[in-house]
Symmetry: C2
Subunit: 209 residues, 2 copies
DNA sequence: CTTATGACTAAGCGCTTGCTTAGTCTGACA
DNA sequence: TGTCAGACTAAGCAAGCGCTTAGTCATAAG
């Protein structure tokens, strides 16, 4: 396990090359999340992002070609992350009602835990370039389809009573998404509180009586 | 009824003084709604607003002291309008379940019909000055209280089963508010479609079983 | 006619914006 | 030791920003 096979020192105080660049890219991304969440995309300056990352304004452009590219990276990670956990949760549950409950529960918890990223991802969609916007739109369609499929399965199993599948799917997702508009991590409400509440409400919204 | 008592001509092709000023203020406000809805508050220039209203950039400042004052006027009207119809609907319904249904139905229809104003009102709250923000916050608390009171009445009448009144009230309002994020007036979904769907879902969310 | 009022414009002021240029510094490899 | 790549900075450019200034024009009362 010694270092003969690796060109990277076992414990480097200052990483170099790709590794150092990757770390700086992460710092810039974290700074951009802070800035965009605080002032919005149009209201944030590249100087503000640079200052939050502790570097000069020009250094941003060594790692990202434009301010929009930072937004795209934040948006892509957010959508990929939430789509992935939603897919996992959907596959891990058999019973349709349980599945809907787990999906909304998980989706609400994700938005509460990542409320700053969530806000950027949900509200700055229009600030993306046409190409980037269409990639992000695909992730969104994926999440909506996952939700519609869960409802269709519940209708087929005769445990759900849903007339408007598309509209109900959107309404269910609204429960989770809209919390980024008002949720504050320092407040008394925890992500688990919201996960439980929204999971229960979701089940009520679709259950056959 | 002849004109001896009035200084304003009975039919003026070009209104003057306060009347003309009021009409121009309205034109500017409508232009600002278009612009803010399209580009956000920070992304909109005063030159853009002026151009949409068909006048020079400097003319904006004859009627509004700052760009933020335009946003505040839009936000105030939006909040006052929706608070008023919600109050009327709440007072016009006796039975608690029916009241919750009518409130969410009305709130969703309002957001669909006024989706551009709704988007500005909901997403540009942080762009207001501290004083203006606290006035708007009061309207919001009013709407939330109206919703909580409707739930409390339903619990007292033993027709609702709601453990977390505050959380459920916010979740109900989310149904209506979040539609401004994706709703498009040109699409196939009508405001009445959303009013009916959301009203039904709201009843399901709170009904005792 | 004169005078006053108020809506409106042309021009522009001082500042900030996203991004670039030219060059410095550090560390790795020959 | 010399060379080279790449991360980073100081300075700045062209464009655009919110808002102001100085003045024009139409209307209406005296």
């Amino acid at each position: 396990m010694l270092s003969t096979m690796s060109h990277i020192p076992a414990s480097a105080p200052e990483p170099v090359g790709n590794e150092r660049s990757a770390a700086t890219r992460e710092r810039l991304l974290a700074a951009a999340v802070e800035a965009f969440a605080a002032s919005g995309f149009a209201g944030t300056t590249t100087r503000d992002i640079a200052a939050r990352a502790g570097m000069s304004p020009a250094a941003v452009y060594v790692h990202y070609a434009t301010k929009e590219e930072l937004l795209f990276e934040i948006s892509r990670r957010g959508h990929r992350g939430s789509l992935q956990i939603m897919t996992e949760v959907a596959e891990a549950t058999e019973e349709p009602l349980e599945r809907v409950k787990a999906m909304i529960s998980t989706f609400s918890r994700w938005h509460a835990v990542n409320s700053r990223e969530g806000r950027i991802v949900q509200y700055e969609f229009d600030a993306l370039t046409t190409e980037h916007r269409s990639e992000i739109a695909e992730y969104r369609r994926g999440i909506e389809k996952l939700m519609r499929d869960a409802l269709t399965a519940g209708i087929a199993a005769e445990v759900m009573d849903v007339t408007d599948v598309k509209g109900t799917a959107l309404a269910l997702l609204s429960l989770s998404i809209d919390l980024v508009r008002w949720y504050h991590p320092d407040g008394p409400v925890t992500p688990d509180d919201l996960a439980e509440l929204h999971g229960d409400l979701a089940v009520r919204m679709v259950t056959a009586r």
